[in-house]
């Protein structure tokens, strides 16, 4: 348990664990209400760091990859690649060089970010506190900005490919002439389809955020239980492994599905 300064209450402990290390253009470090141009330094640091780790690992294997008998690491990496490739092939039937690498990046990156959740909640923030960093949130996917940063990027790709494949007219038609193909229904259709369209990135981002945030919060709550955390921490961590992998997979799969829908003509 963190035992740092001041009067430590449960709520302040939780509050502390849920506060990001921020830096804003206007107010500098950890300013209150610093406006839009604020960066969650910890989220970005860990997410970029894990992304680099992922790319470094895969790139180093890719550079050394042989056609002959692969090593153990190459086997593992190829298993992941083939898993993603299979899912992409099953769902996405067009020709697009972006989808598969995109799916791989999403899957592995989100998985790595989610896995940070399994590190006991006090270790890294505690260490950071020891060297004078007041707040540190280590799981980037418990940051709404991170999940929405990704889901909105996917959203941009959805719109980009819809327009690229079907043209602006096709995009507008999709929004206005479905599900009721009659001019009188255009306003109704537009409302329905806009909600459908906007629900994609929102649900994508919120699902990942919600699952991981809840998981993290539960870890924090368990950590508050004193000795009781010992029997509780492990089952929740084991259960959480499932959530971690599942959420990464769902994010990847939905991205593929959305993009394949963007490519399909009705």
């Amino acid at each position: 348990m963190a035992d740092h300064g001041e009067a430590l209450t449960s709520s302040s402990y939780i509050q502390h664990h849920l506060t990001n290390l921020t830096w804003s253009v206007d107010g500098g470090w950890n300013a209150h209400d610093a406006g839009f141009w604020t960066f969650h330094v910890d989220s970005l640091l860990f997410s970029v760091g894990l992304g680099v780790l992922f790319l470094w690992l895969f790139r180093s294997v890719a550079k050394k990859s042989t056609i002959g008998v692969p090593g153990k690491l190459q086997c593992f990496i190829e298993m992941v690649v083939e898993f993603v490739e299979e899912n992409v092939k099953d769902t996405f039937h067009g020709k697009n060089a972006l989808i598969a690498p995109l799916a791989l990046t999403i899957f592995v990156w989100v998985l790595l970010m989610n896995l940070m959740d399994l590190i006991p909640v006090d270790i890294i923030p505690g260490a950071a506190q020891a060297v004078g960093i007041p707040y540190l949130k280590v799981v980037p996917t418990t940051d709404l900005n991170v999940t929405f940063g990704m889901s909105l990027s996917v959203f941009a790709l959805i719109i980009f490919y819809t327009i690229k494949v079907k043209g602006v007219g096709g995009f507008v038609k999709e929004l206005t002439l479905q599900p009721f193909n009659h001019w009188a229904f255009i306003p109704v259709n537009f409302i329905l389809e806009s909600v459908t369209l906007l629900a994609k990135p929102v649900s994508l981002g919120l699902r990942l955020f919600g699952n991981l945030y809840a998981g993290e919060l539960l870890f924090v709550l368990i950590a508050l239980l004193g000795y009781w955390q010992l029997p509780l921490y492990f089952p929740w961590a084991v259960f959480h492994i499932l959530i971690v992998v599942l959420q990464a997979f769902i994010f990847m799969m939905l991205t593929i599905v959305y993009l394949s829908m963007a490519h399909e003509d009705h």
Binding site: L18, S24, V25, A34, G35, F36, W37, T38, F39, H40, S43, L44, S47, V48, G51, F54, L55, F58, R59, V61, A62, K63, S65, T66, I67, G68, P70, Q74, I77, E78, V81, E82, E85, A97, L98, A100, P101, L102, L104, T105, W109, P140, D143, L144, N145, V146, F148, G149, M150, L152, S153
Partner: protein
Amino acid sequence: MNINATLLGQAIAFAVFVWFCMKYVWPPLLGAIEERQKKIADGLTQAERAGKDLELAQAKSTDKLKEAKAQAAEIVEQANKRRAQIVEEAKAEGETERQKIITQGEAEVEAERNRAREELRQQVSALAIAGAEKIIKRSIDKEANSDIIDKLVAEL
């Protein structure tokens, strides 16, 4: 929890990572996998072909073996025939030789007999002459009667 510029940072990082993955990670990895798949498929077809080849070669070798056996049997038969022929020839030759030797022997025997008979005749004639001489010595001159004796000898 508020939405702020972190979102942009994350989106930019996401774009860069995806670009890097698309450019430098995905193609070599999938390329290696696909190439290996091709290699394995090639190997399998080759193995299959080799199996077929082996089968073919085995069939061929069996055929060849059969042929060789047949040929060997033929040769042996031919040799047997030839042997019989040679034996037959030798037999015939031996027979003629034997015949020749026999006739020769017979001729020789005949000649010998003739000679012996001649000799015997001469001896008998000489004996007869001697006998006659002894008889005649008492009565007649030898010269006067020699022509008779000669005639006698010739008749003998």
